[in-house]
Symmetry: D2
Subunit: 343 residues, 4 copies
């Protein structure tokens, strides 16, 4: 770190230097005009930047190293490949597409959606059993029954399944029913939950929080990776801005940036990213063009009857069109939408 | 709700009207130029606005009623009084001040802080035992030991204590050690946690999420209140904006607005609200002037040694000055800072 | 508009109804539970929504029609084609690329850049003569000399040129030197400037303000179009968010949305949109995949010597690569990057 | 500045060092682990940070000095006093209140408002003659006639007047009719306008842009001050955030922070800051408690008839109440609302 002091007294400088000695940090000092700069190396930087910034005479402290370690490209230059369900790989040349309803509503609804999305080229099935909803009066999901429906349809169609985990107490139950566990945007900084999924052997889909910086997102991944689970797929799903036409603003540059900063695969969720079914296909194509390693799309057999997220869900015809158009974009950048396992 | 259709076909209108009949909603139709407006009453509006917005011909659906019910002023015109520890009341004429360290670091640190803040007029003691930290490598709190230290110092000084709960599995343990339970900003939409504290008999301090609208904040309170616990204090603690000089932007209008929309007490956290100790006192005074029913302030005997949040912590001398200056503002609006129990 | 009243008195309702009569608006009234809804048609809605929202008993007023008229798809279903310099068309199947330095620094610099970008497939040349800079101590542009350099290089290379106008007093001077006039993000709501360029016969490139909603952006275009100039190209260039890794957050969904709401062409500026040269190519590809009708890219012969915007400028080699990769994406969606005029 | 390089090659380091020599900057080099840090002093930092950040091997460049000079506390430790109309001083112990209608609508309306606000303790009159409106179809102000009405009422009531300037071509006309010139939020980065008012002898009220950082706001003031006019009053008027209940989020900490960073007076505009008349009084009190050196309030004799900004305007009774309540807060912090000249 670099400690920048503004016209400090000699005593203030000495106080910093003594403290650095106590903390076992090696210091060097440079004067620029009225400012004194002290560089210090060794130790955990995150901890020290905060401490020193409060000392008398200090203007600010600049961190030199990135706070994320294990998830960084510096730690691992090659792309990490994340394998799901024995047949799917995120992070390679292929671009897997996950599709399915926002919420599991019934066996029939999931089965019908699964058949349709598989037919259009999706390789993995999503469906919410425990739904985090803004209102306590909204549909909260079928819970355990939802898990079982999802799992059953996954087996029947041969598609690996993913669902969101919102409660650390439910890890074991969710773990045994699904092939991949989703941490939703609202829980990106739910640390007990992150620590819990770090214990799982299943791969984790980590959505970016709606108001989280890319750095905070990578730090959340660092929680999971430092806890022992390195099978993590990052998912950009739109951030909260002042714009009101869209539910969120899909941050397409974050896809490229996260792939630059980290070795983990990065996929895109244009359904939540826009909140508007009309925008899902153009944003899906944009995300793939920017380098996304996968897509997750909300599809409902009849969006106008959906129990949640109807406005952003595609119907099977829309989804099929999305797959067709996005395939062309994938080819244009030398990749392939979908996986080969189902062929 | 009002369904606004743009130049719909007759068939599209009929489809809406039939669906409203099926959903047992009473409909009335009005034409304005090219637009057709259908008002519908009865049923849970939140659920229906989403459903109808996706139907063909519909431009958008406007909700007419507020989504929060139990926490709204319409439900209860009088201010709710929240009682903590037998001696403190939030929502009345007095303005209680909660103070203490960000994190419990040791018995000595808490005891020393407690003595200092009590001396300056604080009536309640805060201290984090389970710390949600952005980095897995930062200090995570003393956990169970921290709870016990906090509880012991509370008893010794006669101050009720509050700590943050981050994990639903820890409710019982936290519940028996503290007088009030805090739900932090990162967990404002952690619904399993909200449902869990709704079961507690202890009053809840519900912080606004850093990227949560006032409506979402009140909906989170609705989760707790509809779950059976109506002893809720709201806490504004700054929102995330583009400004980088401050850690958060303290939304002073939210204090006045939340008191207008809800009967629950609203307090202010200028420490997190600004992230900068120099701004804590002016913002504390501003919050009280705007009508805040309490304050929660981070105080550390030696902020430059603090294991977390040093940059925004006051030392005892700063805090004493804050109390003195804010007292005058409280008097100017006909209220009184602090409580009488300790006099 | 719809006036929503919450449990109004009869007198409050009558006051509204009388006022509507005075304003020559036709009213219809509906009751839903405690609420009274009054729909009113005729007249300028923008004006009235504000007026009525302040009357006693009124909870809020909902506008029914969009505030933009001439620029809306409802006004004109077909894409508007904007022609520049006799050879270039925005809004058709082809996707013209504008490139050049942030600021005109010297004849040699512009000539060299122009040759390089033309060679790579750009069809139009950009260059700032009057630079809006955050600091009064930063380079402010070569002003009149810059205009003349840009114009000369445009003639020599046969490329139409565009520059930014920041001062209404300079319209005539800028107008005679360039083929297209740019209104920058900081001036999107500089109404005297918008009214001034509405008088020009030259096509206008209207950048979205960094903190402007899509609606405000379209309203700014409405100023120009209602003032008599319908040759407008919209340009998404990133919005201000809490994210700090990037200078702005490029809103890729705005490209698709503006094309859906308006008949005007929409192009993308990934240079300002990201502020980071590494992200320019992925975001350019994303914008084209989402439907952008053109690109504007900052290129400098030696970005590390650039007098402004060096960090986001491409060098000629990067730019050539961008053109190559983005061409493939354009083909994948059935369009063609660049124009044919220079072939 | 400090140039941070990540594992650079020797050649990359040498290239930086040579360039620093060419630029006449003095360099010192320090290694911390894999990183090389080069500090450089001398020259205009703003210009160089950008240049060096793009060079090979450079991770980022950290500016050491603040970019604003003349407006900074470092330049002038004492509060600047800004005198308006011979009778009013901003920046001293007294807190002047400016009040009046959003827009000048008629002589009668302004006269009536002026009498009412003067009676309640306002010392200065505001009124818009040239209105920047989002829609070209909204009322654009009475323009020249509005200026004359405002000026006439000012003379009759003995109140200095202020109006907004939006067009550099109108400076002379506005200058001769008013005692203080306002630069509105939308024009905070309209540099030709800033340079123009720097030539005026009249004091300037500089509103913060709705999406401008505090640093950008101070840089805009630097434009005016470096251009020769040091009579500047800063005005916080709310920033754009994701919150939709309020028109803007009033940033109360910015009042305290701007006074800490700069010697210029800082006043508050709670009318635009909230957009909701119910919140104007609590936020006015908050701003004064946080240290505001003045207030500017929209008052209309009949807000529900106002031609603009009705929803946020106070009527004379509300305003009188605001003055009464805010006076008490001012006294509590040892200041006095209003000036003595009219007594």
């Amino acid at each position: 770190m670099i400690i920048i002091m503004n016209a400090p007294t000699e005593e203030q400088i000495n106080r910093i230097l003594s403290k650095l000695v106590v903390n076992n940090l090696e210091a060097k000092t440079i004067a620029i005009q009225d400012k004194i700069m002290i560089t210090a190396s060794g130790g955990a930087e995150a901890r020290h930047t905060e401490l020193y910034s409060r000392m008398p005479g200090v203007e600010r402290v600049v961190a030199v190293s990135t706070p994320f370690k294990l998830v960084s490209r510096e730690f691992c230059a090659d792309n990490t490949l994340v394998h799901v369900g024995g047949s799917i790989t995120f992070g390679g040349k292929n671009i897997p597409v996950i599709a399915g309803p926002c919420a599991v509503e019934s066996y029939e609804q999931v089965r019908q959606t699964a058949a349709a999305v598989k037919d259009a080229g999706a390789v993995m099935l999503r469906g919410g059993a425990f739904k985090p909803r803004t209102s306590p009066y909204s549909f909260q999901g079928l819970e355990q029954d939802g898990l079982e429906i999802l799992s059953a349809v996954g087996r029947e169609t041969g598609m690996p399944v993913i669902t969101e985990l919102t409660d650390p107490r439910l890890l074991d139950s969710v773990d045994q029913h699904v092939d991949m566990i989703q941490i939703g945007a609202r829980n990106m900084q739910n640390y007990p939950l992150l620590k819990e999924v770090a214990r799982s052997k299943k791969p984790i889909l980590l959505k970016r929080g709606a108001a989280s910086t890319i750095e905070e997102w990578l730090m959340a991944a660092e929680y999971i990776m430092s806890g022992g689970n390195d099978q993590i797929v990052l998912c950009e799903r739109g951030i909260r801005t002042f714009e009101t036409y869209t539910r969120n603003t899909f941050d397409v540059s974050a896809v490229a940036l996260a792939r630059h900063l980290s070795h983990l695969p990065v996929i895109a969720d244009p359904s939540h990213g826009t909140g508007n079914w009309r925008l899902v296909t153009p944003v899906a194509k944009a995300a793939v063009a920017a380098g996304a390693d996968g897509l997750i799309i909300e599809v409902h057999p009849c969006p106008e009857e959906a129990m949640s997220d109807g406005p952003q869900s595609l119907n099977p015809v829309n989804f099929s069109q999305l797959m067709k158009e996005t395939s062309e974009v994938a080819k244009a950048i030398g990749r392939k939408l979908g996986e080969t396992w189902y062929e």
